[in-house]
């Protein structure tokens, strides 16, 4: 369907699969409650931060369907 791994492809639909993708916060827009995040493979997307605030640049969050649903795995 698409070669862009950011969106759902024929092999695996991250959103439909209840997957959550670990991403790192690159920049924060605290007024709008959004963060620009980057995945391990370099993909970037805007993410809702309301469920895990407060965040700082460099934090790792688990992202599902465009929302950060949890902070990155604690040791």
């Amino acid at each position: 369907m698409t070669d862009n791994p950011m969106v759902c492809g024929t092999d695996h639909c991250i959103t439909c699969g209840d997957d959550a993708d670990p991403m790192t916060v690159l920049a924060l827009d605290s007024v709008r409650g959004l963060a620009l995040c980057v995945a391990e493979d370099g993909r970037r997307m805007s993410v809702e931060t309301a469920l895990v605030e407060p965040l700082e640049v460099g934090d790792v969050v688990l992202v599902h369907a465009g929302a950060a649903i949890a902070r990155g795995a604690a040791a």
């Binding site: 369907m1 959103t15 439909c16 699969g17 209840d18 895990v52 599902h64």
Partner: protein
């Protein structure tokens, strides 16, 4: 990658498999259901089941959000997508789910403006870019996805976006589990609990399973060692005569869940009295709809939705697969008339569907070989 590599360690995997083997009573057959489609996918991707003793059977549950969408709901979506001036948005796998007369992808080929999005936020962005069009988002998924939809509707209101609405088909995980536990044709010994749903709802909602039905639950992550460890937890409880909810996925899942997510869901959604599940029929209080306080974003109120009810195709046995009564390859049309390229049933659509997982990883028509 941290938190990934160490959960794919082959040596540790073999050690866990050895521990599992030591706990299994010869002559007893164990049936463990993995609730989440993500687990099903991981099990076959990594061959986790090949590491298990022959008398430990994994049963695939109803936790693939695409697989449980009934045909009539797809038809409703297609009817909306053909509406005048409508841009219909949905997640990727949802586009391929067959309705009674084709899929949303077919509707797109017929001229409907159907667009794939990765998140409800993307759908809202499309609405803002197309103020003269009506943008409808087909919201599917369990509690993992519902908070994202809720946040987007709150954002739409805050930003004054009036041409955006949502056809809400979100579902909740506990009612179908209770329905399965009440089912007379299914005898299960324990459950691998859904990791990312539990990130939102926590571990507490699963306490009824040991309390009311005497079955262990291990909430698990999605790496192969997570799943093996969850099976070990369940078998250990059975061996010790215990049953409780144990959280294997503590690195992500707090016992109480994400309270902010639960609050935003309670604000934006309300429970439907009944909701139809593919193969499982109507289950009380198992689906979410948009609450009256957000009525202006409810596509079912804004547009005329047929609300059709369509029986599943006779040849398709998705219902029995979803209930774990039969294995995918036991279905009459598996791998012949029904393939990932031309699915008849929803379980063959999403890679989280049990049938697609079996098909894609070569489990066509055989029992697991003993290791």
């Amino acid at each position: 990658m941290k938190y990934v590599d160490e959960f794919r360690d082959a040596e540790l995997g073999r050690a866990l498999a050895g521990e599992i083997l030591s706990l299994v009573e010869p002559g007893r057959h164990y049936k463990v259901m993995e609730v989440c489609g993500g687990h099903t996918h991981s099990i076959y991707k990594y061959g986790v089941d090949d590491l298990l003793p022959a008398n430990v059977e994994l049963v695939h549950g109803p936790g693939c959000p695409v697989c449980v969408v009934p045909m009539g709901r797809v038809d409703d979506g297609i009817a909306l997508a053909h509406g005048e001036g409508v841009i219909f948005t949905c997640f990727g796998d949802m586009m391929r789910v067959p309705g009674s007369d084709g899929s949303l992808l077919d509707a797109k080929a017929d001229g409907a403006d159907v667009r794939m999005v990765y998140s409800p936020l993307d759908a809202l962005r499309i609405a803002k870019q197309n103020p003269d069009r009506e943008v409808v988002f087909f919201a599917i998924g369990f509690e993992t996805t519902a908070p994202s939809t809720a946040l987007t509707l709150k954002r739409a209101r805050a930003e004054g976006v009036e041409n955006f609405s949502c056809m809400c088909s979100h579902v909740t995980i506990v009612p179908p589990l209770r329905a399965l536990l009440e089912s007379p044709d299914l005898r299960l010994d324990g459950f691998i609990g859904p990791g990312h749903v539990s990130t939102i709802v926590g571990a507490r909602p699963f306490e009824f399973i040991p309390a009311d039905y005497g079955k262990p639950v291990a909430i698990a992550g999605f790496e192969p060692l997570d799943i093996l460890q969850a099976i070990l937890i369940i078998l250990r409880q059975l061996a010790q005569g215990r049953c409780e909810v144990e959280n294997q996925y503590k690195r992500v899942v707090p016992y109480e869940g994400n309270l902010r997510a639960l609050e935003v869901m309670a604000e934006v959604f309300e429970l439907r009295p009944h909701f139809e599940w593919r193969g499982l029929g109507f289950i009380s209080h198992s689906g979410l709809r948009i609450s009256p306080t957000y009525a202006e974003f409810d596509a079912e109120r804004r547009f005329s939705v047929p609300g059709v009810r369509v029986a599943d195709p006779k040849a398709c046995q998705c219902g029995e697969v979803l209930k774990g009564v039969i294995k995918p390859w036991e279905c009459k049309v598996f791998g012949t008339a029904c393939t990932p390229e031309r699915p008849i049933g929803t379980c063959m659509v999403s890679s989280e569907g049990a049938c697609a997982a079996y098909y894609n990883y070569g489990r066509f028509a055989r029992e697991r070989e003993v290791v």
